[in-house]
């Protein structure tokens, strides 16, 4: 670890903390391998997105101010979820008395992959991952944080995760028919519109199956939890890993 390396606070989303500790560990180890000085502030809870997306943003003032205070003393906040990062950046209610801190947070919080490519300025990672990998583009990561170009827009194609993955020795990138269609998770949508949510998930899985994905990856465990839940129920032979897990494994 370099002495002058920036202080990075890990923000591990609540459901990752509870259900996918291995993703948190991979994120931490990966950032350390890349030379960051990483801390996990123990007082952290949740960003409040589930409430806000359900229409109760006004009830998240307490959650948001707690979040701002918890992460106030760090140079960067890094999170292995595009969706939660976007929520903090764009959907936190305005917190009276913490205006300056809130503005600062919006500019210093990064999704893991964009932190690696845009802040650490890492163009490629040397490593090995001999698998056929299908990428699920999370909507909030793509259309919200612009981690990759959208099929809807007339813009030069790019994909920050792909740039890192494709350089790994042996990794085969799966081209999908619908490169960036939503998986149907959508937070409370997953239960309030259960039938649609399941159908959308099945359709995404079918696209991966059809193109012989071996490992389905992405930057948001919420999408993956939903897709994996459907795949497991229907006994599909498909493995699921967060991008952090792949990169951390590959860099061993």
């Amino acid at each position: 670890m370099k002495a002058n390396s920036p202080s990075v606070a890990l923000f591990i989303p609540c459901y990752v903390d509870q259900f996918y500790p291995q993703v948190g560990i991979a994120t931490l180890e990966l950032l350390e391998k890349l030379g960051c000085q990483v801390t996990y502030p123990l007082g952290q809870t949740c960003c409040g997105q589930p409430l806000a997306n359900a229409g109760y943003a006004r009830d998240t003032v307490g959650t948001a101010s707690h979040f701002i205070e918890t992460f106030n003393d760090y140079d960067y906040v890094v999170c292995p979820s595009g969706s939660c990062t976007l929520h903090v950046k764009e959907h936190f209610p305005a917190i009276a008395g913490l205006e300056k801190e809130q503005k600062a947070l919006e500019h210093k919080i990064y999704e893991l992959i964009e932190f690696i490519t845009d802040v650490l300025k890492i163009e490629k990672l040397e490593g090995k991952f001999p698998h056929r990998v299908g990428f699920h583009s999370s909507c909030h990561g793509q259309r919200g944080l612009h981690l990759s170009s959208g099929s809807e827009l007339n813009q030069p194609p790019y994909n920050k995760a792909r740039k890192l993955l494709e350089n790994l020795e042996g990794l085969e990138w799966v081209e999908l028919s619908r490169t960036d269609e939503c998986c149907g998770f959508g937070g409370t949508f997953a239960v309030t519109e259960e039938a649609l949510s399941i159908q959308m998930g099945k359709d995404r899985l079918a696209d991966h199956q059809q193109h012989k994905t071996e490992i389905l990856t992405g930057g948001d465990m919420s999408c993956i939890m939903h897709l994996q839940g459907i795949a497991t129920r229907s006994k599909q032979e498909l493995k699921f890993l967060h991008l952090a897990e792949i990169l951390n494994k590959a860099l061993l």
Partner: protein, 452 residues
Amino acid sequence: MTHPENATEFLKDSQKSKWHDETLWFVRDKRDKVSKGIPEWEQLRELASGIKDYVLANLADYLEEFERNAIKNGIIVHWAADSEEHNRLVLEILQQQNCKAVVKSKSILTEECHLNPYLEKHGVEVVDTDLGERIVQFLNQPPSHIVLPAIHLKKREISELFHEKLHTEKGNEDPAYLTQAARIHLREKFFGAKVAITGVNFGIAETGEFVVCTNEGNADMGVHLAQVHIACMGIEKILPRRKDLGVFLRLLARSATGQPITNYNSHFRNPSPGKEIHIILVDNGRTAQLAREKFRNSLKCIRCGACMNTCPIYRRSGGFSYNSTVPGPIGSILSPGLDLKKHSSLPFASTLCGSCTDVCPVKINIHEQLYEWRQEVTKTHGEFAKGLSMKLANGIFKSPLAYKISGSMMRNALKSLPNSLIYHPLNIWGKNRNLPDPPKESFQQWYQKNRS
């Protein structure tokens, strides 16, 4: 019925819903391809958005300028505060003409005002002349899509319908054959109609003219044969300058169906000698929407339907699932402004994926407005229990200790409860999805053990 109930019903016919999804995806894909052939595409969207924003910021002035110039051109201008007044104005013109049968080209505004049932109640036969609209009219259905009104129907169903209504051969499902039968039927109606009704795509303030776009030519067939043309126009359809049409006509058809332009783009400035053009400027909730700062720019919509074609929800639930004149994402931000209670489930019929916003040719931030409408809906129509559980959750997330306790309780519960309980039908998540295997410890516990 709420949107989830309707969607569940639509998905039951899995073959048809798959077809519906794929057909609309095909249209969206055509839109993607054709838009990528225009290097300045994103700039055009920015321009269109800017022009519309400017119009909305100066709407009263532009409406007056439009009216002044239209009158100068010999167009008769009417104003309608709501749908009732709009319908009454149309009926009055028909009665003056002693007209008992009218042809009407596609107009979402007249659907919004429920003009057809109103006129029929007053003894006027209305013939919708867009092929798709005629099909759904035969079935007593509203359009299920604003550009592709009969997209929910298979050709077999249309063949059966035409056999009954137009006496086509039984079992002949050839679209060309069925279209030809409709052509004969509709041309007879065009040549017999004294009055024709159209919608309006754009009204130009600077010239007092208005533009109507079709591919079938049905609007023109109607109005040029009729004695009187009634054009029904929402007050938000104004553009300042004629040259603005260059921007909008380049975007409209490409966004709607992936074609470079509609085949007929008619500019009506004055009536033919001896004939009449009436234009009805309709508010019907638009000034109220203009007053809502967060939702104002939904009035920029040019009704291209691109947000429907791209919406993963719309494609898999069909237009009728929204139970709103304008379905899909744009309908879900327009309709709550008209009747919040009736349409309260619509802002939730979305994953907030944002695709609608990125295809919108006038850059309406549709998914952000869906999010904002959710905040409005829960203020007045949120179920009590949902509100309570959310408040509770906020209490937990505010307090690290409470969060830790409830989190480990959740994990422990998952470990110790029998599967039959976890996957109880009441647990909606688990109906068709497994839950993740509960880990032995949370990340936080691991971190405390290993790193602190």
